[in-house]
Subunit: 330 residues, 2 copies
């Protein structure tokens, strides 16, 4: 039987209904389309909290890293190092942080000498600041960052191995230069390397920091760095130093574990003697180490506690370079 539909004046009503329904459908489709366009792109920028599998991303973004190299007054070394680093396996892109204020970057020359294995981006800075390299660069597409000083040459073998180690310890700073702090009875901390007394934690030595001038770490820590107390930036700017100590504090606070994992380098070289610029690097300043002890104590104040933890784990590559480097007299 035909229901109340049929009771209406037949064909006219039918056409109006049809037209109305069509309009409704079209409007709904437009709204749906607009909503889809407004959906945010899902980004997996968060810091790893555990050993959770990475979300599905482009293969290269997961299996490669971005080199960030800050440079000041050593363009000859920069270019020598770029020729080396541009060909490192698993490198995705290079970001050069150009601290030579007012000076043209070598971008033109770089392009004229192409093609190059990976893109190199020159980020021109307005002020010569040590912490310029710790910006959250939008150019970053990979989870992993490799940070290098502009006078440090590390072999491809070391880098490939250290990158694989970082992939197993993504929440740590995985690098080649360990340092430590020690506490004294007065409560004042001091900063140093192996020549400093042991933290008295048993056999051997301990480290509590891995310097970021030759290390891999997760890009999330650059985001994190933007959220630090103003006093941290002031300290780094005042000393033009200690950005790496600050990063170790940040990572240690985040993980509650030792901030770094030390990978013993087979072939690491400091090229600063090779520069024509005559510029020797900040660590030659007389007050350099004293400043770093000063920074440790200031950061403890700022963060209201000492988050750094000791580790004595030293990682080397099994069977490399010496094929039998793991053998013993058993």
């Amino acid at each position: 039987r035909c229901f109340h539909f049929c009771k209406l004046p037949g064909r006219v009503m039918g056409i109006r209904l049809l037209r109305f329904t069509s309009v409704v459908i079209i409007v709904l489709l437009l709204v749906a389309g607009a909503l889809t366009a407004l959906l945010p792109t899902i980004k997996d920028d968060k810091l790893p909290n555990s050993r959770r599998e990475p979300k599905t991303q482009s293969q290269s973004a997961l299996d490669s890293f971005t080199l960030i190299m800050q440079t000041y007054n050593r363009t000859d070394l920069l270019l020598k190092l770029l020729n080396h680093y541009q060909a490192i396996p698993h490198l995705h892109k290079v970001i050069v942080v150009w601290n030579n204020i007012g000076e043209k970057t070598p971008e033109e020359m770089w392009n004229s000498l192409g093609p190059h294995p990976v893109p190199v981006v020159f980020k021109v800075q307005t002020v010569n600041r040590m912490r310029n390299r710790l910006q959250n660069f939008p150019d970053l597409e990979t989870k992993a960052v490799l940070m290098m000083d502009d006078d440090t040459l590390v072999s491809a073998h070391d880098l490939a191995f250290a990158f694989s180690v970082w992939q197993q310890f993504p929440e740590h700073i995985v690098g080649f230069v360990p340092r430590k702090h020690i506490s004294t009875p007065s409560g004042v901390y001091s900063y140093g390397s192996f020549e400093l007394q042991n933290p008295a934690l048993g056999n051997g030595d301990q480290y509590s920091m891995v310097l970021i001038g030759a290390a891999f770490f997760h890009r999330g820590y650059l985001e994190d760095f933007q959220q630090q107390p103003e006093a941290v930036y002031a300290l780094i700017d005042e000393t033009q130093n200690c950005d790496d100590i600050a990063m170790n504090f940040l990572v240690a606070k985040h993980t509650g574990k030792p901030s770094g994992v030390f990978v013993k380098p087979v072939d690491i070289r400091n090229l600063e003697k090779d520069t024509n610029s005559g510029y020797s690097g900040m660590w030659h300043r007389a007050e350099h180490l004293l400043q770093r002890s000063y920074c440790v104590n200031k950061l403890v104040n700022i963060y209201d506690g000492m988050p750094l933890k000791y580790s004595n784990i030293m990682i080397s590559q099994f069977g490399f370079p010496n094929y039998a480097n793991h053998k013993n007299k058993m």
Copy 2:
């Protein structure tokens, strides 16, 4: 106003009600008591699935380990080793798995030479089986097991360090003897050490097993081992070999990662030449290595796949024994 209560014949009803209520209360209490007695004791024997903090247990059970040492026909070595191992830091107890069937244990002599730093338990076996050491001994009170062959001497420094490493990698076999398998184009696997070809995974060498005859692992794996297919026990009994390969398969399957973490020993010695018994150990049999390749292939059959994964991480102790063993020419 007084309700239907009061309508009932006063005091008699009151007393009956009181009696009834008391009985109900007593019954409830008894039931509650019975239920409490039936509650299972909460044990945290489960294998670690992630880096979750250990539940609250006695301090010593968390910070110490149990040495399990199986022995056959080398009691002189056993006693020499017990004198060394009984004093290792963080040792909780020793379990000696006595495979000398029908022979008296040295327990009397051991007791007469007390006191000793830790308890030593002699577990008399009825059949001389290689896999006797993989029982889930009720004497185990610690999370960590240190398993040692009865001819292997590892220094206290190495053990203290390796134990601290295990505490950071509790789901792995952390030990001093790495081995690997390789696959061949025919699909047949072979077993070996560094003299075997590389798994062709890049620079250097790789390992896919850490032998349990000198290693720390979580006691949960002993429980796990009791749940394996019968064919695994048959294989181990048939060869009197390969229990350690089977354990590596088990661990790799459980974690989905490389089963072991290799800690490079500073001082590890094989004492088998020092024995008066003339007994040399199973690995001198002509067929020993061939058997182990055979076991790898059988286990792949039994488990329907190859779960072992490669690693090239080699861990050493920072600044020990050489105070500056991490320095480089930078």
